[in-house]
């Protein structure tokens, strides 16, 4: 069972941003990306114990920031 499952709704989050999040945080946890009709779904396991308190929240923040940056045409 995953430590956490995060569903990023397609109506809000950009696909590139979700992929960027997986890449950026992949070195601190195992992150499996799947998709369904409504959302990008990240199953997060094996979180680095040093970061387990914050990793999921920081990942969600990162994806949101990347989405905002992609919509405004600049870097986050």
């Amino acid at each position: 069972m995953a430590d956490a499952v995060v569903r990023f709704d397609r109506s809000l989050y950009a696909a590139d941003a979700v992929h960027a999040g997986v890449e950026a945080f992949g070195k601190f946890a195992r992150i499996a990306l799947s998709e369904d009709a409504d959302a990008f779904v990240l199953a997060v396991t094996e979180i680095d114990p040093r970061h387990e308190d914050v990793l999921v929240d920081e990942l969600a923040n990162y994806v949101l920031a990347e989405t905002a940056a992609s919509r405004s045409g600049g870097a986050a």
Binding site: M1, A2, D3, A4, V5, V6, R7, F8, D9, S11, L12, Y13, A39, V56, A60, L64
Partner: protein, 527 residues
Amino acid sequence: MSQRSITLRRPQVASDELAWFRFGRIGQRVVITNDVGDWELLDEPEFEDLLGGRIDEEHPRHAVLQAKGFIRNDLDVAGLASRLRRKKRFLGQGPHLGIIITTLRCNQNCRYCHASRTEMDRVDTDMSLETAKKVVDHIMQTPSPYLNIEFQGGEPTVAFESLKFIVEYSREKNRYENKRLEHSLVTNMTTMTEEMAEWLVRNNVMVCTSLDGPAEVHNYNRTWQKGSNAYDSVIHWIEWFNNRYIELGRDPRLWHVDALMTTTRKTIDHWKEVIDLYVSLGIKNIHLRPLNPFGFAMSTWKRIGYSPEEYLEFYTNCLEYILELNRQGVEISEGTASVFLMKMLTPDDPNFVDIRSPVGSGTGQLAYMYDGSIHASDEARMIAAMGDDLFDLGHVDNTTFDEAVNHPTVKAIAVASILDSLPMCADCWNAPFCGVRPLHNYMLQKDLFAQRARTPKCAEHMGIARFLLSKLDGDEDGSVERIFRRWTISRPRDPEEGLDAAPPVRDPSSVESGGPTSGHSRLPVLE
């Protein structure tokens, strides 16, 4: 291990139907607040209804959300502007608190001394009468119609002649200034004599002392000379003053010794005894002040300090107990809670210089050191005493009042504490009630702005506001609100009350030796 599941959706927002507000979560509830300090707690579905524009006139929440200005339809913009003007009316008034350090000498050696006191033989740290006169001439130029001159130290009673001169000279000067002028003394009581005490009572100088708890805690925190007992001294004089006010026929709710405590690790272990002591002495307000990162506290932190989480646990234990005592008919309130509650429950801001936007440094208060140097605040002079003059504003010999309050440093502190302009604070639901502390930030992170969300003050203020709103939210019968509203009431004192009474009979058992002070009496001030 339980699985955490997060679903991040795009909320439906009918932005053209909403007035402007901030929001956040308190437990399972959503709190919404606006600039005039109105707030409401909603269930998640209600919040979604609000965002989605589904709160129509039939909705049970419509009336209250409309009245509080959270719905744009029929929004009373002029009314909100008027209320905001009232909340912020302190902005145009200038400093109302003048802190004067008549000496840095002190006979106590408190473990947390924020003031960096000096030894009793350091008479070079006493304020001369010549400097005292210049200080009064300076602070009385404030445009504020209300002025509280607060004596701090060191222990101000060891330089009692300077104190008397300042009271008498400022009162004389006020015959022409016509301000509402008050004087208060922060003293450890250990050098108090009956002659001094009677003079203070007769001259309406309000007395504030430090009482850290029962003898075990007080004497541990506030070390005095060998063989002496600081606790016995402070208890004696609290009772003396309070009895004297009653003898003079003064209302004890208005005329009494205020007491402050500074929380150390030792206090946390004895929290209930501390409150019981205050109640037994008839003290109506306890201010559960945390340690500040100034003075000797910086070097003793490892022994007497604690984490923000530990402080909040202590604070909420105390407040639950204080609430229970109130339910039993005991009149006692908590200082920081009263400041927040006044912002949450009344149309006014208490103008408490430490929890304001902007913070009061330079705009709500000025501090004058024994040598005539001018500082943006009490904390600024504490930092100066540690050898850092960043917050110095000049000297009474060569700096005008206008130059001091328009000093670039004052402007920088204001910019760093106007919540509307600070990232994260500007959007925080607690903004209408909170206040940031640039000088704390500077001491902890060497940055006026700092990463505020990581500061102890943020944890403290968020925790306290959450606690208070949670209590009001679960208040089915209105009993909590009735208690909280009592804590927000502040009545002015009549300076003539009881002054025609006879002088006291001398108490032969009075204590006539004593020691120093630290802490300060900046209690909420109504304007």
